[in-house]
């Protein structure tokens, strides 16, 4: 019974195993990046990037069809242009960076949809917008695994400067820690992970697996490292649960994975030990000292 519910589908169907492996690769690397985005109060930036890459992906699609390489290169260029462009516009005009980002990504999203619609049918558009977890092919799988490996390597090397740059950027600058360079590396990693996720979840939900576990992790740990582990754990749980739910209830897989992550987030807000609603309302007797 339990076997049929949890293991059977994966044992039986190769495409489900591939989907699971792809989502697990995303789950170990993307959520820790999400944790840093949350700590920098940039929770919406990943969302912006996911939409911002669409014109690049569309250009790749127009030139080479549904090729992972072409779409990834296009998306990478577009994503970096949106990130750097927003910074440059806000510096040049004295405006706020978040408003420049919002303007750029709205334009990018509309441009991307127009480009795809003009050159392809609604099937391809749906694929780009919502992805197809069950249609993950070898190149896409390799890209997810490669990005995950690179991200974990980079995070383990750059952990200390990233934490410092988040906590006290002035101190980092005064001590000559080159915070700007680390921040740029970090944003490049975010773009790469959004691109990897987009193969499975599409532009609309690519960041679901990055941000929801990261936001939920705040309720499970009190250190950056603890939050990173918690976020990965939550993402792994949500990936497996989402794929199973989608199989048993016959609902689309991408949204099911993101909804599972959303369910874990809701449970964390309610029952998480750190600042959870329940933990706050349970009036435990204060300590003696």
């Amino acid at each position: 019974m339990l076997y049929d519910l949890l293991i059977g589908p994966f044992a039986e169907f190769g495409f489900l195993r591939r989907a699971l492996v792809g989502c697990l690769a995303l789950s170990v690397a993307a959520p820790p990046l999400g944790v840093f985005l949350v700590l920098r109060r940039m929770s919406l930036t990943a969302d912006v990037l996911a939409h911002g890459i669409l014109p690049g992906v569309a250009a790749g699609f127009i030139l080479a069809g549904l090729s992972v390489t072409a779409m990834s290169v296009g998306g990478l260029v577009a994503g970096l242009l949106v990130t750097l462009g927003a910074g440059a516009i806000s510096r040049a005009t004295g405006g706020r960076e978040d408003s420049a980002l919002a303007a750029l990504y709205l334009v990018a999203l509309a441009l991307g949809v127009t480009m795809v619609s003009a050159s392809a049918g609604s099937v391809e558009l749906t694929h780009l917008l919502f992805g197809s977890v069950l249609g993950v092919d070898d190149p896409a799988l390799l890209m997810m695994a490669g990005v995950a490996t690179l991200t974990l390597l980079a995070l383990s090397l750059a952990w200390r400067p990233l934490v410092l740059e988040c906590f006290d950027p002035s101190f980092a600058a005064a001590e000559g820690a080159r915070g700007g360079a680390w921040h740029l590396l970090f944003m490049a990693l975010v773009v790469l992970n959004v691109l990897a996720a987009f193969q499975a979840l599409g532009t609309m939900m690519a960041v679901g697996l990055m941000m929801l576990p990261a936001v939920a992790a705040r309720h499970w740990a009190r250190s950056v490292g603890g939050m990173a582990y918690a976020s990965s754990g939550i993402a792994i749980l949500a990936s497996a649960a989402g794929i199973l739910v989608s199989y048993h209830l016959d609902v689309p897989t991408g949204p099911a994975v993101v909804l599972s992550a959303g369910a874990v987030w809701a449970a964390s807000v309610l029952a998480g030990p750190v600042d959870g609603v329940l933990a706050r309302s349970l009036r435990r007797r204060h300590l003696a000292g």
Partner: protein, 242 residues
């Protein structure tokens, strides 16, 4: 162990409006100086410029390589998930950088610094659980670990209770005794008179920079108040040669 900070006709500005206007002078090695002046007088900007965090518009600042800055507490996210020990150990940055290991001796040094500021038992605590006063003590512990010959303090005793202020002031005296150069932005003139031999009275333009008693004379303070009146939208470009 100290070196001097020299200001040569320095002008600092926000959006072309000068925040600090044509100031020259020297913080002598081993001196203990207070910077006082009305709000908007450019005190914080000057401190940040000395630390290398604000661009120098005109003129030149000669400064030693190793300077430690205590920022205003409000500039930091006090709910950040980091432990007190980790914050204190950030003071080792110049020695260990982004990748270097922190030797057990360095760790012991950070623990000793926490002990010295009265946070001995709280090394493992996240900073989110500290009060404002304890957080300021923690930032002083990081200064102790940094062990720099020049220490800049931006409103170090704001929002802390009398006992914390007294404890932190004791550290400032120790630094002075060790021959370090200490510069502090302060508002409490009584405290300045009592503890700081030198004072720079700033109101965009330097009003006085000398012994504290003389700098804080009534005539100087009146002049500072007159000069601090605001931001002139229609100000012409300054004619004084740089």
């Amino acid at each position: 162990m100290s070196e001097a900070i020299r200001l040569r006709d320095v002008t600092l500005s926000h959006d072309r409006h000068p925040a600090v206007h044509h100031i020259s002078g020297e913080f002598a090695p081993g001196s203990l100086t207070a910077i006082v002046g009305p709000n908007g007088a450019g005190k914080t900007t000057l401190l940040r410029a000395i630390a290398g965090l604000h661009p120098v518009d005109e003129g030149r600042i000669e400064r030693p390589a190793r300077i430690a800055l205590l920022p205003q507490m409000t500039a930091l996210d006090r709910s950040f998930p980091i432990s007190c020990l980790d914050v204190a150990m950030l003071g080792h940055w110049r020695r260990c950088g982004a990748f270097g290991a922190i030797a057990p001796a360095g760790r012991a040094q950070a623990e000793a610094a926490l002990e010295a500021v009265g946070l001995g038992g709280l090394a493992r605590r996240p900073v989110g659980s500290l009060s404002a006063g304890q957080f300021q003590r923690l930032l002083f512990a990081r200064l102790l670990v940094q062990d720099a010959p020049v220490i800049l303090l931006d409103e170090p005793f704001n929002a802390v209770d009398a006992r914390t202020a007294a404890d932190l002031l004791r550290l400032v005296r120790e630094w002075h005794g060790q021959g370090r150069t200490v510069v502090a932005v302060l508002h409490d003139l009584e405290l300045v008179r009592r503890e700081f031999p030198e004072t720079l009275l700033l109101a965009r333009d330097p009003v006085a920079w000398c012994g504290t008693e003389e700098a804080l004379a009534a005539s100087n303070r009146l002049r500072a108040r007159m000069m601090s009146e605001g931001w002139d939208e229609a100000a012409a470009a300054c004619g004084r040669a740089a």
